[in-house]
């Protein structure tokens, strides 16, 4: 039984094709998000199927998730990214109790119960200061890339204090730091600490472990360490963290087909 999950996020679209019988990922892919979201999602999905010798009729069910989930015409069903990230993380790290997902335009903290179901969640999607968008703005301002941020942060011994509650003002603050000759690495480390602070601010420091970190920002080196410092406990990056939502969506689709998803 083959199912698919499509995660239409704010920055990228991810697709995972899942074989429920063998419990393996058959195919996966990712493209940048754009104006024509439905066409992009469908193109990625159909391209993956073709590349793996599959037809649409081979796919028993498709679940779309992510902020653009309702625009994914090929999906049979939509499920929120809260549920899908929880599923995806639980599959990849069965011991997970808390999930931190930092994506392009929001961040979430999801608590799981002993069965891996969502117990509670908190979201920040009103303020870009706790999201990947903040890192993009900083990378552009510091004339580096997202990948380059981690290398810079690793060289910092005195992270700068970034106190603004909003990305626009934080960018102004960074300009001020640059004018004051604050080293770039200290600015980056300060920004990463600020993002981690926003995330922990949603729920406080009393977070039960194991904590698993997912979403595109989990790929940015230095963020895991910033979160560990803010939470006061180890943080495990999810394997292939950008794909966790799409994987979870595919798992939900498979559960639905097998009658175990309500």
């Amino acid at each position: 039984m083959i199912c698919a999950g499509i995660d239409a996020g704010s920055r990228t679209i991810k697709v995972v094709v899942w074989d429920g019988d063998t419990g393996t990922v058959v195919a996966k892919g990712l493209i940048d998000q754009g104006v024509e979201q439905a066409r992009l999602a469908q193109g990625l999905f159909e391209g993956l199927l073709r590349g793996h010798g599959l037809a649409r009729s081979d796919i028993r069910r498709i679940v779309a998730t992510g902020y653009g989930r309702n625009a994914v015409d090929v999906a049979d069903q939509t499920v929120t990214e809260i549920t899908c990230h929880a599923r995806g993380v639980r599959h990849a790290v069965p011991a997970a109790v808390t999930v931190i997902d930092i994506g392009g335009q929001d961040s979430k903290l999801i608590r799981l119960d002993s069965n891996g179901r969502v117990r509670d969640f908190a979201m920040n999607d009103r303020c870009a200061a706790g999201t990947g968008r903040f890192l993009e703005v900083v990378a552009a301002r510091l004339d580096t890339t997202l990948e380059g941020l981690g290398a810079l942060a690793a060289r910092s011994f005195a992270p700068a204090a970034i106190s603004s509650m909003c990305v626009v003002f934080a960018e102004t603050e960074i300009i001020g730091q640059l004018a004051a000759s604050t080293p770039r690495e200290d600015i980056v480390a300060g920004v990463q600490a600020a993002i981690a602070g926003r995330v922990t601010g949603m729920v406080g420091r009393n977070v039960d472990g194991p904590v698993v970190f997912t979403g595109g920002v989990a790929l940015v080196s230095g963020m895991k360490e910033a979160l560990e410092l803010a939470l006061g406990q180890p943080v495990i990056p999810a394997p292939d963290p950008q794909m966790t939502g799409a994987l979870g969506a595919a798992l939900v689709a498979a559960e639905y087909v097998s009658g175990t998803y309500d």
């Binding site: 809260i82 549920t83 117990r119 509670d120 009103r126």
Partner: protein
């Protein structure tokens, strides 16, 4: 009536109205097709979904014609009292005097929503230094400036003290514009100290007897001003009769809530229930008609319960809702996401409790004023919410923040703390501006995720 109720668009309601008219629907003179309010600028009405019962039509028309009623009262020489930051106390006194009409100027907080910001009320407040860092109730300032939404009252009262900081600042700004305000103080409701005489308030909170006596003295001061305005005495008999009339409304609402929040399928949508509950604090400027409107709604709900029909789908998630929404559309959204409201705390839970009729009337009113969940510790309010969640068997909680409202910044965390002491219940916080279109997607995600979470937690 055997057909399941539906939720209609404005257009669909107009068609249904014609059919009902042709079928000989009898209704009060203020009832008409809802779309006529569009001409007055109530643009948001086109985005809402309404219960299809004649009782709901009457409820909406009653709400949307309050301005007309107030202007008519002025023309007929009635004296008008604006009871600000008063959640259910001074209107009881005013209506006990007969010729006074009380209303709730703070109710203008929904005008930016209903008129989709087209009247500029918030802009006027901005220009007066009461900007978006304050609760949307600041729209009231604009309404006083434009004089387009209600007549300027003959007497303005405002509670102050342990009530909302925002509102105090807004009302002070209003007074600075030359509107004289009779302030009355509500002290912070604290727990009695050991050995201190205590009183059990409606709703269950305990308070020192001295605090009740203080509030009573404040109410007597307001009472004298109302007597001067009405030209008659607010004696014990009149106040008792007024309290009894108020209690009939509260009892009707209690019956309505008991059915709407417990019976499956849900017999009345969340939006109409929100409007109905709001009537408890101000009676929409006509206490007798308020009772008639609610009795009509209750009769409709009873019929639906007997027929086993309702508006929610099977398995709708039972949500306890904290704080009223600045944008009415969100109540529709909750149901579209697969949930229904089972229990509420719209900031005035005390105004839903019966006022004691076995006490001297003014003391009884003081007791209910002091029972206001907003004038005591947030932990007390959270404890009452916890009791109601158990009573209504709610499966999840939505704490709805009002942008700028000072209490909203911290109460959500306290409510979560108290509920999680002994309840394993998912809680989500949302913030709803007066026109929520720009955050509709994120609100939907939160509510859908809450519904998914509850469904996954249910025993299979």
């Amino acid at each position: 009536m055997t057909e399941a109720p539906r939720q209609l668009t404005l257009e669909q309601w107009d068609l249904r109205y014609l059919q009902l008219e042709q079928a000989g629907l009898a209704h009060p003179s203020y009832v008409g097709p809802l779309s006529r309010h569009l001409a007055e600028g109530d643009l948001r009405l086109t985005k809402l979904r309404y219960d299809d019962s004649p009782a709901a039509l009457r409820l909406w028309n009653f709400l949307l014609t309050e301005e007309d009623r107030l202007h008519e009262a002025r023309r007929r020489g009635k004296r008008i009292v604006g009871t600000m930051k008063d959640l259910g106390t001074i209107p009881v006194m005013a209506y006990s005097l007969g010729d006074l009409v009380a209303f709730y100027p703070d109710g203008a907080w929904w005008t930016p929503c209903v008129m989709e910001n087209s009247t500029g009320l918030l802009d006027i407040a901005d220009s007066m230094g009461i900007d978006e860092s304050f609760c949307p109730v600041r729209a009231m300032l604009g309404a006083f400036v434009t004089c387009e939404h209600f007549p300027i009252p003959d007497l303005l009262t405002c509670s102050v003290g342990a009530t909302c900081d925002d509102f105090s600042a807004i009302a002070q700004r209003l007074e600075g514009l030359g509107h004289r305000i009779l302030w009355w103080e509500v002290p912070h409701r604290r727990h009695p100290e050991e050995g201190e005489d205590a009183v059990r308030l409606p709703g269950g909170f305990l308070a020192p007897k001295g605090l009740v006596a203080f509030v009573e003295s404040e109410l007597r001061r307001v009472g004298r001003a109302l007597e001067d305005l009405a030209g008659r005495s607010l004696d014990e008999a009149r106040l008792r009769a007024g309290i009894a009339r108020t209690n009939r409304i509260r009892q009707c609402l209690a019956d309505l809530r008991d059915l709407a929040y417990t019976v499956d399928p849900c017999p009345m949508p969340a939006l109409e229930m929100l409007i109905a509950e709001m009537l408890a604090i101000h009676f929409c400027s006509d206490q007798d008609e308020c009772l008639a409107v609610l009795e009509d709604l209750l009769a409709e709900v009873r019929e639906r319960v007997i027929a086993g029909i309702g508006v929610s789908g099977p398995g709708a998630v039972r949500v306890f809702w904290v704080n009223p929404v600045a944008d009415l559309r969100v109540m529709n959204l909750l149901e579209q996401c697969g949930a229904r409201v089972c229990g509420t705390d719209y900031l005035f839970a005390h105004a839903l409790d019966l006022i004691p009729e076995d006490r001297p009337a003014m003391e009884a009113l003081a007791m209910q004023a002091l029972a206001d969940p907003m004038v005591g510790p947030a932990f007390d309010r959270a404890s009452r919410i916890r009791q109601d969640i158990a009573r209504f068997r709610s499966e999840a909680v939505v704490v709805c923040r009002i942008p700028g409202a000072s209490h909203c910044a911290w109460e959500g965390r306290i409510i979560q703390e108290v509920l999680h002491q002994d309840m394993d219940i998912p809680i989500v916080e949302i913030e709803v501006p007066p026109v929520s279109d720009s955050v509709a997607a994120t609100l939907r995600t939160r509510l859908e995720a809450l519904v998914e979470t509850v469904r996954q937690r249910r025993p299979r």
